[in-house]
């Protein structure tokens, strides 16, 4: 089975506190640690496990600048066979549809039975997989948390739905699936694994290589644009307990007693 997995380089939220820059034009990107989007990492692991079972090849693709090469290498160190970087100044500022347009062009250049994306990334939209599928006229299922291969044309996939329930579907290939976290346990990648793939060449394709017309991607093609960033105020905000740990704990115990939190 030929599988393409779309991955994104994102700020690592387990390593960073995300704030807003002083002008409110972006998140504060000083000293951010980046990594592969967590959902995408599960997608790559799933693709590798499928190929381990039935044979085939896993290609990882990213849209981004040269720095995205590092996440492609990381996923290749996990076991993906090939990497592909889609990079062009004309791609900068793309909205979800723009990214899907770029990925569609890359899918068309290959012969993939299955395309996987993460269920969502840093912007929390969860849109690229569904858009890509519609552009390709392929079936789509989102939030997939189990994949079983029925035959070379059909998969049985579970979707995570509300309340911890699972919706089972049969889906025809070629198709696009967005992968939910928890579907597997992504393998650990050591420094040695990264070194092994350090010199593997990763092809870079731009807009003209992909046959993408100007104006269909980038900020010029974007109908949806982020205007500014701000720190949300959802509720009235918590009363912050301050002081020494002992003082905080005494106050907390008093509150817990009053609210029925201690039995």
């Amino acid at each position: 089975m030929e599988i393409l997995v779309c991955v994104k380089r994102v700020p690592d939220t387990s390593e960073n506190e995300i704030g807003v820059n002083s002008a409110g034009t972006d998140i504060d990107r000083d000293d951010l640690v980046y990594s592969v989007n967590e959902w995408d990492n599960y997608a790559v692991e799933e693709a590798i496990q499928i190929v381990d079972r039935v044979g085939g090849k896993v290609t990882v693709v990213a849209v981004g600048d040269n720095e995205s090469e590092e996440v492609l290498r990381r996923e290749m160190a996990m076991g993906a066979n090939d990497g592909l970087l889609l990079s062009d100044d004309a791609f900068v500022g793309s909205d979800g549809k723009g990214i899907a347009t770029i990925l569609k062009a890359a899918v068309k250049k290959g012969n993939y039975d299955l395309v996987l994306t993460g269920a969502q990334a840093d912007a929390g939209a969860g849109q690229v997989g569904g858009m890509l599928a519609a552009m390709l006229d392929q079936p789509y299922a989102s939030l997939v948390n189990s994949i079983e291969i029925i035959n070379d044309k059909t998969l049985k996939v579970g979707r995570e739905i509300e309340g911890g329930n699972q919706e089972m579907n049969e889906i025809q290939m070629p198709c696009v699936l967005s992968i939910q976290t928890g579907i597997n346990e992504p393998r650990y990648v050591g420094i040695r694994g990264i070194r092994k793939v350090a010199s593997v060449e990763i092809p870079v394709l731009g807009a003209s290589d992909l046959g993408i017309s100007s104006g269909s991607t980038g900020s010029a093609g974007a109908k949806v644009k982020v205007q500014d960033y701000f720190v949300p105020q959802l509720g009235k905000g918590a009363e912050m307990l301050e002081g020494s740990t002992e003082e905080i704990i005494d106050k907390l115990i008093e509150l817990l007693k009053a609210k029925g939190g201690l039995k």
């Binding site: 939220t13 387990s14 506190e17 995300i18 704030g19 998140i27 979800g96 549809k97 269920a119 929390g124 939209a125 969860g126 849109q127 690229v128 569904g130 858009m131 519609a134 552009m135 392929q138 079936p139 789509y140 989102s142 939030l143 979707r159 995570e160 509300e162 309340g163 911890g164 329930n165 699972q166 919706e167 089972m168 579907n169 049969e170 198709c175 976290t181 928890g182 109908k223 982020v226 205007q227 500014d228 720190v231 949300p232 959802l234 509720g235 918590a238 009363e239 912050m240 307990l241 740990t245 704990i249 907390l252 115990i253 509150l255 817990l256 609210k259 029925g260 939190g261 201690l262 039995k263």
Partner: protein, 322 residues
Amino acid sequence: MAQIFAYITHKGGAADDTAFELAAAAKKIDAGAALTAIVTGTGADLNTVCNAVTAAYNEVWKIDNPALAYPNAEVVRKALLSILPAGSIILLPHDTFGMDLGPGLSIKTDSAFVADVVGIEGVDGKTLKLVRQEFSGQVSTHVTCDASAGAVLNIRPGVCQPGEIKSVGGQVVDKSGSVGDLTVGRKFLEVVKAEVGDIDITKSEVLVSIGRGIEDQENIEIATQLAEAMGADLSCSRPIVDAKWMEKARQVGTSGQTVKPKVYLAMGISGSFQHLGGIKGSPFMVAVNKNPKAPIFQVADVGIVANILEFMPELTEKINGL
């Protein structure tokens, strides 16, 4: 402004809360608009739902078809495409169904798509001004959406409260005949119900809930000891289940259990909307997190900036000494 449609999700003959929330959202886009609901399904339940939502929608377009008995987003998309006028604004709930339907629908209608809308600030000509969040709610954004060719907007459940509904006395219009072939490449098989765990946290009055801040499986013991000292049950957020450190039945959130305790201690939980969506009944909420910017501090009653791995043992010791 373009015609506004809302897709109504329903189950067992009852419209979802989002049915009325989407009407409220539509009014924020165009206060004077005549709203249209689209309800798909089959049989008596479908009619019940259609009649119920005439309270909030001027027209209710009904599509009755056995292929729509379960809301398979691929089938629903095909049905919608056969009846939606070009350039429409379509509102969907941002839940597991809306996430499945919205992105592809926007491509097929050649319109803009905005996911997980948490606020609607207004309209300037054909441009919608919306509010979203990024990084699990750590930052918010103002977003513009060019709706000149229509738009699909996924609205986060719970953010547009309908208030008191004065019935508009809408009409049900049967559109079943306008829908053609509904064959798609994805077939719904069944819903597998969540496994029941050893403890039913939906019944717990006091919950100690742990998130990423627990850092390691071995540290769960620290939280267990606190829960025991308090006479509470232990629950968790999604990453703990993803890591297979605790069972799914202990997960609080929209994709896990919906809990309604009196007291909720969020320990090392950042507070994504999916997690908060699983906490009902306005419990007294205490949040302990080492990140002072964690979104959980905006919704908690009491907040403490601390490393839970140091804080919890001290709290346990003090409670045990009472």
